[in-house]
Structure formats: structure tokens, C-alpha cells
């Protein structure tokens, strides 16, 4: 039996004062053993970050720990005076944060910043410190650490910065590393690198990791044990395999069912209705009662913790009838026909046809703003979408996929190329001619908070496009239409006279969808519409989009980095790398057997919410190059495991293969020939 490193008993953290403090953490018990990875899983606002901050005693000014005990080894952390606590922080326990960009001081070299942490822990002279810094950088896999020591944070990519943060955390040789969403801000290929690094470091140093995440895939990938948090409490705890085999709590089950994937294409995703209850109350009933479809009378009383096996437990009245729970199948989710009206292979005119689209942003320098170069954000992209179909544009951040959307919409004027939409050449239109054609082409943004003017009522927001496009002649007609649209996206009628901030993230995204629908578009560009949302809410939005596509015959250009959403929703997929499409094909075909080395690496790096799917992660070296200065030849060759001499000379053409898909790679060409 291994030793217990961290023991948390009945930890309670409240935020704010006054009559209704927010009980962000409401009685948490957990134990972490030496050398294990313990994942704390939960949706946003459930208190998982607050738990981590409470353990480090780094709460914001409004927060305070009102009860409970935390033991690190034999030390009672909550009773330590602040100066002693400082020894523990960065000493026996260290923390890394979600946002590596803001966690580093931009005006100090990374050597100085890591050196600072080293000096506090080890003391010693300058030479020893410098040596240890290099050692640390080396251990987190930063190439050429001697040179990197003198670089500033802005010279490093996001993944590199996170590695530097990990190096700083390692400076004190911690026994416990608290990682608060360490990979959420990173791309999948970089995420795979960082997760692998964490695992490797754990094996070398034997430290325990408390991993805080919302991503079931990450948990399946690296965790040993899992605890699920909901509304400030841990509702389920189990070893990883048991949890993924047989989740006990209705909430955990729902989480799994709401994950989109290819197998659920023909169905609606399970959704958890409603929202997390506000935490500024004292709960008497089960916290999940309003959203649980298995609630019964007993649930009016808050359930206690039921230990099912050593190290496994659940906070649910159904836990006692464990067999009953696992035998009774959850109600079959309702089926909905998908793409019923579309006839495959019809030779009708595509709705949107983009040829050789280029968007270059000039780089200005000097007093006279001379153009010294171009950022080739989009560099010759061709794609087409048929009416009522969904094309997914997949790629990592910085590959130019958002710019493609804006270029098609003429929000950014393309540098070259053509955008034919429903018979019109959009790039040539100007002024009022362009304005009048905007109704058919709409966009939904990623961030539902930023996409609505906080100073306007929801009704006015939805009406804005109708007014601009002169849809609905009188104010009454427009009002009636607003009400109708709100009903279609599943919001109450009185929403029109409220402000956006009164709605939750998912509801706001529904308002954005209603706003786009108000002008009767034929094509909607969805720019990562679900990546700012929790899994259960994401399922609601995906269901809604699918339903609207069926009922209105909408076409979607779905811009995303989330492969499972693509698998669920898209008909066709185009993979982008550094401003160009590298592979394009029908969704099932492409996801099942990717041909381009980049696509292969990208798909393999996606964490799968199933610990037994032993897939090989193809680890890509380095980061995506800058679009201002792309590598010669194939843009992917510096990271490609199969790079050939030819790849360095010329960019390969996008060739159509026998099975109908298009790939731009010399290796694939060779294989086909």
C-alpha cells in the first residue's frame, strides 16, 4: 500500500461576504497517494480551480477557507503561518496554470525567472543556479536549453511557455504538482506533447499530480484515479478504469452520453437540461435533482457519500442499488433523421465555391510604414459546399481557419481568389450591393459573451439584422418574428426584453444562432461555436444546429479544432495547415484512414475518452512555423516524420486520389502511383 501524500478533509471555501456567500467548495474529501495522477474532473464553475487554490492557499481576496483540514504528508497546511506556507509553495507542492501566456513575466528572460525559483530552493552561487536552470529546461524537453535561457517569453510558443512553467514548478523538486487545466489553452498536438512530458517527469521524479480538467479524453489518457466534481462537491470517485467502464453517478453517465462522436451521428446527443444551480445557497436536496432524469422522492434529501469499494464512492441515493443502476439502461435517446432530404451525388451547383482564396496581411515597418512582408494567413484555398451540407474546416490555432471564414464573408477582403456564393462573385461586390447580399451568408462566433453588444436588449440584437436587411415591414412583424425565432432555438418568449448578461453561455450561443437565422441565411459559418462551452451544453448546441439543418436545409462551414464534433456533425472535412488545405475528403473516410502525415498526427493526438483504446500517438516535433515566414517547399516538412528531399523544394499539389479525396503530399503521390 503506497503512502498517502495529500489528504483533504471536508474542505470548505466561500467566496464573497454578505448574506449569500458563494460556497465554491462545499465539503471536499480526497486523498492523493505518492506518485499517482489524480484527476479532478468537472465543468466550469463547479469549484475545481477553487479547490486547487485553496490547497495552495492562494485564494483571491474575496475567498476564504471556512472549514476543513489539508495535510501534506504530516503537515497541516491550513494551520501553517504564511511564511512557512511560502516554503511549501514551490517547495513540496507546486502549481501550473491554464494560461502560460500570462503566467510568465514578459520583461524578464526565462532563465532569470526559473533561476529565481531555483535560488529560493537551492541557494548556491550563480554558476550552480545557471547550471540547474539549464538542467531543468533540458528535463522539460526544450531543445537547445543553453541558448533558450537568455530568451524572453514572447520568443517562445505557447507549448514552450507551458514547458517553462513546468520547469519552474520542478525547481523546488515538488512531491505534488497541481496542474490546473495545463493543456486547455494548447492545440491537440502540443497538448499531446505536454501530457507525455508530465507522464515522463512523473516516472522520473515520482511526484504526484493533481490534474484539474474538464476533458474526459485527457483524464482517460493520463489519470490513475478520477474524482468528478459537481456544484462544489465531489460526487463520484473511482479508479480510472472503473470510472470509464461503469460510471455510477447519473451526472457522470450523462457526461459520457453527451460526448459527440461518429457513432452517434444518426442520433441526438444526450443533454443535461438546465444549468448548474447557483452556489450561494444552502442545499437541502441533491444538487443534481433538477437536471437528473432518475430523480425520485429520496432525492429531496441530500445524499451522503457511499463507499462502494476502497477508493471508490459516489454521492447518490441510487448508489446502494448499484446493480439496479448498472442494469437499467438509460432511456433511449430520441432518434432524429439526419440529412434526409439530401441526395448524394446530385450534380447541382454548389452553394459556395471558393477558388484559390488568399488573404495576406502586410507587415509594416519603420516611420513610413513600408511593407516589408506579408503574413500569409490564408494562402490559396479552394473549397465548395453544397446546399444543406456541412463542411468542417479543421486545423490548429494559427493555421488561418478563422481568416478563411472572414474572407468568405468579406469581413476581411481577400488578397486574391474568388468566392462565388449563390451565383454572385462576392469579392467584386461593394457597398450596398454587398450589403444586400449579406443576409444569405451568416456567422456564429466562438465567444458567446463577446458576440453580443452588452448594451442592447436581446430583442434588439436579433432584430438588428432584420432591420438592416429590411425583413419584416413593420415593428410588429419583426417582433413576432423575434418571438418565433426565440422559440425555435428553445428560449422563453420573455428573453427578448432582457440583456445578454442575464443568460448563461449556452443560452447566449442560442441567441447568436437566432440572430443569424433572423435574416434567413443559406449558409452559416460556425467559427468554433462550442469550444467555449461545457460538454453538456455543447451537446445542446450541436443538437440544435443539426435540427436546424434538417428543418431549414442550411449549409454549414464548421470551423473547429474539435475532431469529435467533426465526426458527429460534418459531411466533408478539410484539414488546414499553415494557410493551406493539406487533405480533404468525406468525413468517415478521412477520419478512419487519414493519408496526409499531418492529418495522421493530428488525429492520433486527440485524446479519446476511453482508456482502453490503445492508439499510438504520433508525436510531432516543434511547433507550427509562422505564416509570415513559411518554410520552403511543403510547409509541413520540418515536422514531418516522412520528409523527403523533394518536400524541401516544392509545395506538393492537391491531388485527387482514387477514393475521391484530395491530399497534397509527395509520399501519398508515390504510394498511389
Amino acid at each position: 500500500m503506497s503512502e498517502i501524500l495529500l489528504k483533504v478533509e471536508n474542505l470548505q471555501t466561500w467566496l464573497g461576504s454578505g448574506e449569500h456567500p458563494v460556497r465554491a467548495v462545499d465539503g471536499i474529501d480526497l486523498q492523493i497517494q505518492k506518485g499517482e495522477t489524480f484527476a479532478l474532473l468537472g465543468e466550469s464553475g463547479c469549484g475545481k480551480s477553487m479547490t486547487a487554490l485553496s490547497l495552495m492557499r492562494l485564494l483571491p481576496p474575496a475567498g476564504r477557507i471556512v472549514g476543513g483540514d489539508v495535510y501534506l504528508g504530516k503537515t497541516a497546511l491550513l494551520e501553517l503561518p504564511e511564511y512557512a506556507m511560502r516554503e511549501e509553495r514551490g517547495g513540496r507542492m507546486a502549481m501550473i496554470f491554464q494560461e502560460p501566456m500570462t503566467s510568465l513575466n514578459p520583461v524578464l528572460t526565462i532563465g532569470r525567472q526559473i533561476g529565481e525559483a531555483v535560488k529560493i530552493r537551492d541557494g548556491g552561487d550563480r554558476r550552480a543556479v545557471a547550471q540547474r536552470v539549464v538542467e531543468l529546461l533540458h528535463s522539460v524537453g526544450i531543445p537547445d536549453p543553453v541558448r533558450r535561457v537568455g530568451e524572453y517569453p514572447h520568443q517562445l510558443s505557447g507549448g514552450m511557455k507551458q514547458r517553462v512553467m513546468i520547469a519552474m514548478a520542478l525547481a523546488g523538486r515538488p512531491e505534488l504538482l497541481i496542474a490546473d487545466e495545463p493543456t486547455t489553452a494548447l492545440d491537440v498536438t502540443i497538448q499531446a506533447q505536454v501530457l507525455a512530458l508530465l507522464k515522463e517527469l512523473q516516472q522520473q521524479t515520482g511526484m504526484a499530480i493533481l490534474l484539474i480538467t474538464h476533458d474526459l479524453g485527457v483524464v482517460a489518457e493520463v489519470a490513475d484515479r478520477v474524482a468528478v466534481m459537481y456544484a462544489g462537491q465531489i460526487i463520484e470517485q473511482a479508479s480510472r478504469d472503473r470510472f470509464f467502464d461503469n460510471p455510477q453517478h447519473p451526472y457522470s453517465r450523462k457526461l459520457f452520453q453527451s460526448l459527440p462522436d461518429a457513432g452517434k451521428r444518426s442520433r441526438r446527443l444526450a443533454v443535461i437540461s438546465g444549468n448548474v444551480p447557483p452556489l450561494n445557497q444552502v442545499f437541502t436536496a441533491c444538487r443534481f435533482i433538477d437536471r437528473c432524469d432518475r430523480a425520485f422522492e429520496d432525492c429531496e434529501m441530500a445524499p451522503g457519500w457511499t463507499e462502494l469499494a476502497p477508493g471508490q464512492g459516489v454521492r447518490c441515493h441510487l448508489a446502494g442499488f448499484q446493480d439496479a443502476v448498472s442494469i437499467v439502461e438509460l432511456p433511449e435517446v430520441e432518434h432524429a433523421p439526419v440529412n434526409a432530404g439530401s441526395s448524394p451525388g446530385s450534380n447541382q451547383e454548389p452553394l459556395l465555391q471558393v477558388e484559390q482564396l488568399k488573404v495576406h496581411f502586410p507587415i509594416h515597418k519603420g516611420v513610413f510604414k513600408r511593407t516589408v512582408g506579408h503574413v500569409r494567413a490564408v494562402d490559396g484555398i479552394s473549397l465548395s459546399i453544397d446546399p444543406g451540407k456541412t463542411l468542417a474546416l479543421v486545423g490548429e490555432s494559427g493555421c488561418g481557419k478563422t481568416t478563411v471564414g472572414k474572407g468568405i464573408l468579406q469581413l476581411v477582403r481577400p488578397t486574391a481568389g474568388t468566392v462565388r456564393f449563390a451565383g454572385d462573385e462576392m469579392t467584386r461586390l461593394k457597398g450596398s450591393a454587398l450589403r444586400s447580399r449579406r443576409s444569405a451568408l451568416q456567422i456564429i462566433f466562438q465567444d458567446p459573451v463577446a458576440s453580443m453588444n452588452p448594451r442592447m436588449l436581446v430583442g434588439d440584437i436579433i432584430e438588428e439584422g432584420m432591420k438592416a436587411q429590411r425583413i419584416g415591414r413593420t415593428a410588429e412583424q419583426r417582433r413576432a418574428r423575434v418571438t418565433e425565432l426565440l422559440g425555435q432555438v428553445g428560449l422563453p418568449d420573455d428573453s427578448a426584453s432582457r440583456y445578454p448578461h442575464e443568460f448563461s453561455g449556452g443560452q447566449r450561443q442560442r441567441i447568436c444562432i437566432a440572430r443569424a437565422l433572423a435574416v434567413d441565411p443559406k449558409l452559416i459559418i460556425c467559427d468554433e461555436p462550442t469550444s467555449a462551452l461545457d460538454v453538456s451544453v455543447q451537446a445542446q448546441i450541436l443538437n440544435l444546429l443539426k435540427m436546424l439543418q434538417n428543418s431549414r436545409g442550411l449549409a454549414f462551414l464548421f470551423i473547429t479544432h474539435n475532431i469529435s464534433v467533426v465526426a458527429y456533425l460534418a459531411d466533408e472535412v478539410a484539414v488546414m495547415y499553415l494557410g493551406r488545405i493539406v487533405e480533404r475528403g468525406e468525413v468517415g473516410q478521412l477520419l478512419a484512414a487519414p493519408r496526409h502525415p499531418y492529418t495522421q498526427a493530428l488525429l492520433s493526438a486527440v485524446p479519446v475518452a476511453d482508456p482502453r483504446s490503445k492508439h499510438e500517438v504520433i508525436r510531432l516535433e516543434g511547433d507550427m512555423p509562422s505564416p509570415a515566414n513559411p518554410p520552403a517547399g511543403c510547409h509541413f516538412h520540418p515536422r514531418c516524420p516522412f520528409a523527403m528531399p523533394r518536400c524541401r523544394e516544392r509545395y506538393p499539389d492537391l491531388n485527387r486520389l482514387g477514393d475521391g479525396r484530395q491530399v497534397s503530399c509527395y509520399k501519398v503521390e508515390q504510394e498511389e502511383a
Binding site: 464573408l409 469581413l411 451568408l441 453588444n453 440584437i461 440583456y499
Partner: protein, 471 residues
């Protein structure tokens, strides 16, 4: 008694500003995002206290902004009304005694004798050299040396008691007004206010108001019989001068803003929204303007105006009108030199807003530029405008004092704190020192600027979205 109403340029602008503020108030009342922060302002203790003090200043300033020409009957027999060329304000009429009781020269605060020795003819015909009795200050005392202290104390007490009584009356009126909406009726409202439990800190407002009224009525009692803050070189009451200066200070602080706002808002938003050559043009304009030393520009403009006015003296009916025009020009020229700061802020903010998703969405809907600016950009930068205006106010009041000190401020005949300080330059060099002009200007200016600063702090905090989340 009252003659024709005279509307000076600045008066017109003051009332325009008042109209503007009123209209904004009506507009803001309907918008939660503007009403909410103001609600926070009136719920803060500092906010209401400073608001009470500022309203006193504003009230004096407004009363002083209603001008008319008093007509007086020159010859009772002829029934012939003669218009005087003098222009006075409603405030002048209110404090007529202060204005009319002019001494010969300097006298100390609450003094009964002049501050300079003179030859006095004794009843016996002999001449002695002594401090003569004042004509008005303490004239009711038979034996100043004996009665003075008792009289001042008596008057002070009367003033303070009057102030206290008035406060109590007002407090009861407040309770009565609050009572219908409170559970406990009148007693409940009183308990809520006095314990400071309500959402609006009425208690702080009442305490400030009480203190203000007590000081005010104390001043009224004493200045009825004495010169509360002494007299200046030509025997004018310094308390009166300081009160008259309030209007000048407020006008400089607010009119300047009124002058600069349209330019700053329009150009700032245009530069940030359209970018390209529009941005370049506007940016270069304000960068150039910013590189001209402000004082130099002000001096040049004021000197030119002075020359113009002395060459066209016949165009001005009265001294007041002349001084007023100079004040207006000072405001304009201060506005011209100070709009760049706000313009730059607004440019940056609208540049940011232009990239925000909801503006992009509006573009995708085909909404026109003007609509986007009015509907999306302007409402979202208004808080910056508001914060800047309130923060700039105290700076401008101080700027006036500095400019008048170097003689390029308001007209020397106009009452202003700057002019008072300017004249104090000579008074301080004199032996014995005349200190009260400077002190009076300091007290009045300090109170105004301090409350304006505290108030603007509260306003800024209320409108700052980053601070809002931590409350």
C-alpha cells in the same frame, strides 16, 4: 426692481449644458448599464457626501449664472427708469449686503478696525494716527475691545443652532418622504436612516448636509455683522469674492469639457473605426497639436483677444460682458489643448471594439457604418467619456488658478480663485502680511477639488468593469 434679463455667452452655455445633462439623465434612466453604476455611486458613503458638497457649489454657480441689468429710479419725480450699464446676477442680489458694504482697504477677518493706520480726527479736533473703526464690520459694537469676543461667540452659536434646527427639519422631511415605502412607516424610516442600514447611505448624506448647513448659517450670521474673511485692498469683502469665484471655477471645469467633447468623441471614434488614412490624418493632427506647449497657445490666444477687445471697446456693453467673453475664450482654448487625451483613449477603445465579434456580426448583417458607430461603438465607450470628464474637472479648476496667476487666465476684473491668489502675491510680500485672500481661495478651491476628486474616484470605480466583479 428687476431689469432686463441679460444672457451672457457663458450663461447660455451653462444652461445648454444643464439641458444636456438632463437629457443624458433621462436617457441613462432607461439604460441599465448606465443606471447601474450611478446606483452604485449613490450607494457609496463618499459618493453621497461629496455629492452634497458639489451640489452646494453647483447651486451657487447656477444662481450666479442668471444675469440681469438692474434698473433703478434715478429721479423719483421724473419716473424715469434708467438702465444701468452694470450687470448683476441673482446671486449678487441674494448677498447684496456683502457686495455693497465696502470698506476703505484691508481689514482682517472678523475685524472691527482697518488693517492700516490712518489719521483720525478726534471729536476734539486733534488728529491721532491709529487703526480706524470699520464702516460696516462690527459697527454695531459700542466698545469693540470689550464686546467683540462675546458678540462673535453669540452669533456663532446662533448660526450653529439655526443650522442644526434646519438639518433636523430636513431630516424629518426626508423620513416623511421615505416612510410610505418602508415597512415601519415614519419611525421605521427614521430608524433605517439613522442606523445607516438602508441601501442608500442617507445618514452620511444627512451628516454632510448638517455640517454644511451649520457652517453656512454660521457664515451667514457672522458675515451679516462682520467681514467673515476680511476685505481686500479696495475694501471688498473677500468672502464675497470667494463665493463669486465658484462660478468661474465651475465654468472653466465644465464648459471646457463641453467644448472639447464633440471633437474628441467624433474624431476619436472615427480614427479607431475607419482606420487607414482617416486614422493617420486624425492622429497626426493631435500629435502635432500636442507638441505645441499648451501654455504658449493659451497665452497667444488670450493676448490676441485682449488686443481685439481693447480695439473694439465699444462693442461691449459692460465690463461683465467683456470679462465673460474672455472666460469663454479661455474655455475654448483650454478645450482645444485638452481634447487630445480623450481622443486618443477613444481611438484605442474603438479600434478594439471594431474587432469585437458583435461589431463583426453587425457588418455581416450589412448594417451601415453610421448605425454601427451609433449603436455599437458609442454606447460602449460612453463610460470612458464620463470617467474622463469627471476626472478632468478638478484639473481644469486648478489650471484656471495657475493661468490667472501668470496673467493669462480670466479677466482681472472677474472674481476667480486664480486672481485672488495672484493678488496675494503682493499681499504676502507686505508687512504685516495679508494672508486671508490666499487662505479664502485655498479653502474654497481645496473643498471643491477634493470633493470632485473623491467623487470622480467613486464614479470611476462604479464604471470600471474589472472592479465590478470583485464586489
Amino acid at each position: 426692481m428687476m431689469g432686463g434679463l441679460v444672457i451672457l455667452w457663458t450663461d447660455a452655455l451653462v444652461f445648454l449644458l444643464l439641458l444636456f445633462v438632463g437629457a443624458f439623465g433621462v436617457y441613462a434612466a432607461g439604460k441599465e448599464h448606465l443606471r447601474g453604476p450611478w446606483r452604485l455611486v449613490v450607494r457609496s458613503r463618499v459618493g453621497v457626501s461629496t455629492l452634497v458638497i458639489l451640489s452646494f457649489y453647483v447651486a451657487v454657480g447656477l444662481l450666479d449664472s442668471v444675469h440681469f441689468e438692474p434698473s433703478y429710479v434715478a429721479d423719483p419725480q421724473a419716473q424715469d427708469r434708467v438702465q444701468s450699464t452694470e450687470v448683476v446676477s441673482l446671486f449678487d442680489r441674494l448677498v447684496l449686503p456683502l457686495r455693497e458694504r465696502q470698506e476703505k482697504t484691508y481689514s482682517a477677518p472678523l475685524a472691527t478696525h482697518l488693517y492700516a493706520k490712518e489719521n483720525i480726527e478726534q471729536p476734539g479736533g486733534t488728529m491721532i494716527r491709529d487703526y480706524p473703526r470699520l464702516q460696516y464690520g462690527g459697527a454695531h459694537l459700542a466698545n469693540p475691545a470689550q464686546d467683540w469676543a462675546g458678540d462673535v461667540l453669540r452669533l456663532s452659536l446662533i448660526g450653529l443652532v439655526k443650522g442644526l434646527v434646519l438639518t433636523l427639519v430636513l431630516a424629518n422631511i426626508l423620513f416623511a418622504l421615505l416612510a410610505p415605502r418602508r415597512a415601519g412607516g415614519f419611525a421605521g424610516a427614521a430608524r433605517e436612516v439613522l442606523t445607516g442600514k438602508g441601501q442608500i447611505p442617507w445618514r452620511s448624506a444627512l451628516i454632510t448636509l448638517g455640517l454644511l448647513l451649520m457652517v453656512l448659517l454660521w457664515a451667514v450670521e457672522l458675515s451679516g455683522r462682520y467681514h467673515l474673511l476680511g476685505t481686500d485692498k479696495v475694501g471688498e469683502d473677500v468672502f464675497y469674492q470667494a463665493l463669486k469665484s465658484i462660478r468661474t471655477g465651475l465654468l472653466i471645469g465644465t464648459l471646457t469639457t463641453l467644448v472639447m467633447l464633440p471633437a474628441a468623441i467624433l474624431l476619436g471614434i472615427m480614427a479607431g473605426y475607419f482606420r487607414g488614412w482617416v486614422d493617420d490624418l486624425i492622429q497626426y493632427t493631435y500629435t502635432t497639436l500636442n507638441s505645441i506647449p499648451g501654455v504658449l497657445l493659451i497665452a497667444a490666444a488670450i493676448l490676441m483677444l485682449q488686443i481685439y477687445m481693447s480695439n473694439h471697446a465699444d462693442e461691449f456693453d459692460s465690463l461683465v460682458e467683456r470679462a465673460d467673453l474672455r472666460l469663454l475664450f479661455l474655455s475654448i482654448i483650454l478645450g482645444v489643448t485638452s481634447w487630445t487625451g480623450l481622443c486618443r483613449l477613444l481611438r484605442g477603445e474603438s479600434m478594439k471594439l471594431h474587432e469585437v465579434d458583435y461589431v463583426q456580426a453587425a457588418v455581416a448583417f450589412g448594417v451601415g457604418h453610421f448605425q454601427i458607430i451609433v449603436r455599437h461603438i458609442l454606447p460602449n465607450v460612453l463610460h470612458i467619456v464620463l470617467i474622463t470628464v469627471v476626472l478632468d474637472f478638478s484639473g481644469l479648476v486648478l489650471a484656471e488658478a495657475v493661468l490667472s496667476y501668470v496673467n493669462i487666465g480670466v479677466d482681472p476684473t472677474m472674481n476667480s480663485w486664480g486672481n485672488m491668489i495672484n493678488s496675494a502675491r503682493l499681499e504676502m510680500a507686505r508687512e504685516p502680511v495679508v494672508w486671508w485672500s490666499l487662505l479664502a481661495a485655498m479653502i474654497f478651491m481645496f473643498t471643491l477639488v477634493l470633493s470632485a476628486n473623491l467623487f470622480s474616484d467613486v464614479v470611476r470605480d462604479a464604471f470600471d468593469p474589472r472592479l465590478r466583479s470583485s464586489r
